[in-house]
């Protein structure tokens, strides 16, 4: 069953005079339970794809179906529930004046789901945090703990699809592994579909079944984790990316 079906997908940002063609026609099909990665340099449009798919940006054209249901740039609440997003910066993605309990109950309340203390405690334990954290403010948590809360917040509305925008790049290395493992465990448990955007090839190779390489708004190559491990690529840019990341790891 297809979870994400994207065809002929374009994103254009218009300002008064100029038009920037950010994403220039991509096709993407992701099956349920699959984890697909998108890699590329900064500004290649990979985050834009995520933000459009999840409903944050409206200026796209093309055909998009999420969980078998076609969606338009303007979203209804039911469409929103299908996909949730985890952001890059755990220090900016939680409201500084909302306690953790509130941060988790708000999505459930907005979607009309149960949001009592037991539900919040369950959501916290699912991401490996004790229930007492519900009474804390985000500034009382570390970056890794905040990212766990952000994941719990995305999962509490029980989406079928999770869009991950560089979920570990703001964390230090030891915490990165914990967060990635947490994400993998939740995926197996709930048969979630992930679309992961990163510029870190090792993260993508560790997590994903298939990897798309994006450059200047188009997918230029499709790789498997084994390809990356072996340093194999079809497109020169993808080859360049792998080589650069190997050099970076060696350094």
């Amino acid at each position: 069953m297809t979870m994400i079906d994207v065809q002929d997908f374009h994103v254009r940002f218009r300002s008064r005079k100029t038009e920037t063609h950010v994403v220039r026609g991509i096709d993407l099909r992701v099956a349920r339970g699959e984890c697909v990665g998108i890699v590329g340099e900064s500004g290649c449009g990979k985050s834009t794809v995520l933000r459009c798919l999840v409903g944050l940006e409206g200026g796209w054209t093309g055909h998009v179906s999420l969980n078998g249901k076609p969606v338009r740039p303007e979203r209804q609440k039911e469409d929103l529930r299908a996909a949730q997003m985890v952001f890059q910066d755990p220090f900016g993605s939680l409201h500084p004046r909302h306690r953790i309990g509130r941060a988790l109950s708000e999505p459930a309340r907005c979607m009309g789901l149960p949001h009592g203390r037991e539900r919040i405690a369950a959501a916290l334990s699912e991401v490996g945090l004790p229930a007492e954290f519900a009474d804390r403010f985000p500034h009382e948590l570390s970056g890794g703990q905040r990212q766990r809360v952000a994941i719990a917040r995305a999962l509490i509305v029980e989406p079928a699809l999770l869009l991950l925008d560089e979920p570990t790049s703001a964390l230090d290395v030891s915490v990165q592994a914990e967060i990635l493992n947490l994400l993998s465990d939740r995926r197996e448990e709930r048969n979630l579909t992930y679309l992961l955007v990163s510029h870190d090839l090792s993260v993508v190779a560790h997590m994903c079944d298939r990897i798309f390489v994006m450059q200047h708004g188009v997918f230029v190559d499709e790789l498997s984790p084994e390809d990356i491990g072996a340093g194999r690529a079809n497109h020169p840019y993808a080859q360049h990316l792998i080589t650069a990341s190997l050099l970076g790891d060696a350094a």
Partner: protein, 298 residues
């Protein structure tokens, strides 16, 4: 993952969020001598206003023509005016009028400015353009002139003065709130809230407004000095509170005639106005240092 976290035990018993914030705010304020002094002066004024009937040695309107224009003495600490009324008593009663004006104006202006500002900043585009041009138009009215027009239309009085000052005092608040909202609406936590389907109203009131409140409160406190002065000016011109109400500006206006020989009649209310607006100013400055992290002391 089954790893457990080293649990930090909370260092203090958890109070309600607001109580904790207030207590932290006060302990920060105590480290700012000037701001703390301003805070104490304002507190004294509020207490004086509330307990005026108990504190004032004489009723505000008690005339005693035999004692007219007496200099400060043990009986009348700040002297008496041309009708033999005790100036200290009138100042204490006058604190009620000043505090009522300041608090009423702030209570009107704060929410109105905040709502207009965050609505403009959050929605942007055409909404923003319309609301902000309207704000600019209002901003261009001098409040004293508008109050004159108002007094002419509705009759002079304290309530007219409050309405007139409120009408011209909200635009700076709205601009401030808009600037904050422009930043907050682009944050990831607002994006996350949009993805989980929070309504516009919910986003405005529960997500954006709380982030704008601290700077609005600071701005309001600084504004209170201006409000005190404007209210006194209106009283001085005879457009605010009417005699025999012991309004400070009106008292100066009455005392002007005796300025050279009986200086205390005009100077004492003048001092009251000076100290009050100064106190609001230094308190507002200290609050800005405490509440607004971008504003660091030089």
């Amino acid at each position: 993952m089954q790893d457990t976290f080293p649990l930090k035990t909370p260092t203090q018993t958890r109070m309600s969020g607001a109580g904790m914030a207030l207590r932290r705010f006060y302990s920060d304020l105590r480290r700012e001598p000037l701001g703390h002094a301003g805070f104490i002066v304002i507190m004294i004024l509020i207490l004086a206003a509330v307990f005026a009937p108990l504190l004032a040695p004489y009723p505000a309107a008690r005339q005693s023509l035999g004692e007219a224009l007496q200099s400060p003495s043990a009986q009348h600490w700040l002297g008496t005016d041309e009708f033999g009324r005790d100036i200290l008593s009138r100042l204490i009663w006058g604190a009620q009028i000043t505090m009522r004006t300041v608090l009423s104006v702030s209570a009107i202006v704060g929410p109105v400015g905040l709502m207009i500002g965050i609505t403009a900043g959050y929605f942007g585009g055409r909404t923003d353009a319309i609301l902000m041009r309207f704000t600019d138009v209002v901003l261009s009215f001098p409040s004293l002139v508008l109050a004159l027009a108002f007094a002419a239309a509705l009759g002079a009085g304290l309530n007219t003065a409050i309405i007139a000052i409120s009408l011209t005092a909200w635009p700076p608040i709205a601009r401030l709130a808009r600037a904050e909202a422009l930043v907050v609406r682009n944050t990831d936590y607002v994006a996350a809230a949009r993805i989980y389907g929070a309504s516009h109203l919910r986003l405005l009131l529960l997500y954006i407004a709380p982030m704008c409140v601290p700077s609005v409160v600071v701005r309001l406190t600084l504004n209170m000095a201006t409000i005190t002065l404007t209210a006194a000016s209106l009283g001085f011109l005879g457009l605010g509170a009417q005699p025999p109400m012991p309004e400070w500006g009106a008292m100066i206006s009455a005392g002007r005639r005796f300025m050279l020989d009986q200086w205390w009649v005009a100077v004492m209310p003048g001092f009251a106005i000076l100290i009050t607006s100064l106190a609001f100013n230094v308190l507002g400055d200290a609050m800005r240092d405490i509440l607004d992290p971008r504003h660091t002391r030089g």
